[in-house]
Amino acid sequence: MGFWDYVGSYRERLLFDAYQHASAVLQCVVVATVAGVAIGVLTYRREWAAGLATATTSAVLTVPSLAMIGLLIPVVGLGVAPTVIALTLYGLLPVVRNAIVGLRGVDPALVDAAKGIGMSRARRLLRVELPLAWPPILTGVRVATQMLMGIAAIAAYASGPGLGNEIFRGIASLGSANALNQVLAGTLGIVVLALLFDAGYVLLGRLTIPRGIRG
């Protein structure tokens, strides 16, 4: 069976896996972004706290994903839980680091001006600092998404959702007629998803980066 025949005859299963893959990654990225920006906002003004946040999240990133999943299984069991926890943890680092770098990069004179016209701390953060720090944060979210695409594939080994299942089906049936088709379908599917997400971020950047600071 050729590759396209295979894709045709298993279209529904592949689409379902692709949908689950995209949805798992998207949800974890959203959680990681919210949590990461929150961590960034809480820590960027104190040197030691920012250092601690960056060091901790980068230590997490050093841990191989299969080992991370292996350590989560005894605690939360197989399936969706270890996948979601691992993906969210891995997604944090790029967001936290870029949030801190971005927030620190805001021109103090602008913050001062905002204070001068009577903005409260919360309003300064929401109306001035975060919009100006948004482009690097968005870069971090993009990096995180690309990374999570690959890690999600590995999580399928712990019965997680997504296109990784297709790859592992192929590995499990090495030598059979469809092994190559299965691995290829899973891998190419993830590449396509990653490229689609990337295009989505370009669009999101167009829509959300304030007009005044667009390069």
């Binding site: 841990v63 191989p64 299969l66 292996g70 680092l93 870029n98 770098v101 690097p136 690309q146 691995v183």
Partner: protein, 293 residues
């Protein structure tokens, strides 16, 4: 896998390597925690320590605590036949040795391929190839490591060769883009000056360009090492051995002790390798590039 650090598609000067910001910022961090104090050292004064005690002792002591407690737990753990079988006859040592060998060999080849290629691609003659290389690099970043590995296993057969090829292919890109970014970031006036005092192109490369790019190349090496420790766990899926064998055995047979032992050893190895690489990064940086006045 994609283990950890991938490279930022938009900002290849600053890969997501532990220790460098994932941001389109300057490649040289403005405040290194172990940098020397601002004043220029007097000629006979003791040179400032490049590595602080905390950096030197914190992680190793943490690892010792974790490993000793794991060992104590295992001495008293009740292992059933399947677990005992999976761990008997020095299989744990074998897996650990295989893992280290996979990481070392793949990192060696990654450097041998990526650094010269980076030098070549930044020469004027090959500058036209840059967009092509960037496109390949971006597509490569999007490819999941496990898929790449599985394809290679189908193509090359089960065993070490497929695993190593996959690991090398996967880590070449970040190191390549770091090398190229490092060479490009060099001050053009310095190269001009080097040419001006009569250096040949080869001399300019070996005596000016490469030494100046050392910090970024070292950051790339660290990225490669950490990536490879992670990707080596996936070698188990292609019969390449390594600590991934313990993890996958633990998962498929539902034996928590095997799973936890494999995971803890992998994590400890990854943190240790990253720590060693971070020391190397500090120690091998040319003195002249340290932050001065």
């Amino acid at each position: 896998m994609s283990a950890p650090p991938g490279t930022a598609p938009g900002a290849d000067a600053t890969s997501a390597a532990p220790g460098t910001p994932v941001a389109p910022a300057s490649p040289y961090p403005s405040g290194s925690p172990d940098g020397s104090p601002g004043a220029a050292p007097a000629p006979y004064e003791a040179r400032p320590l490049r590595i602080t005690w905390r950096k030197l002792t914190l992680l190793p002591s943490l690892l010792v605590v974790v490993l000793v407690s794991t060992w104590l737990w295992f001495r008293h753990a009740e292992l059933d036949a399947i677990s005992a079988n999976a761990l008997a006859n020095g299989q744990v040592w074998l897996a650990l040795r295989q893992h280290i060998a996979l990481t070392a060999v793949s990192t060696f080849f990654v450097l041998v391929i990526a650094v010269p290629l980076g030098v070549l691609l930044t020469r004027r003659r090959f500058r036209a190839a840059t967009p092509f290389v960037r496109a390949v690099a971006n597509a490569g970043q999007a490819t999941p490591a496990i898929g790449l590995l599985a394809l290679l296993v189908i193509w090359l057969g089960i065993g070490r060769t497929a695993a190593l090829t996959g690991m090398i292919a996967y880590a070449v890109l970040p190191v390549l883009s770091n090398t190229m970014a490092g060479l490009r970031a060099n001050e053009p006036t310095l190269l001009e000056a080097a040419r001006g005092i009569g250096m040949s192109p080869a001399e300019v490369l070996t005596r000016v360009e490469l030494p100046l790019a050392v910090p970024l190349i070292l950051a790339g090496v660290r990225t490669a090492l950490v990536l490879n420790v992670g990707t080596a766990t996936l070698a188990a899926f292609g019969g390449g051995g390594g600590l991934g064998v313990l993890i996958t055995t633990g998962i498929t047979n539902q034996r928590v002790p095997v799973l936890v032992l494999g995971s803890i050893l992998t994590v400890a190895l990854a943190l240790l390798v990253d720590w060693l690489a971070s020391l190397a990064e500090v120690l091998l940086r040319p003195r002249g590039l340290e932050e001065g006045p």
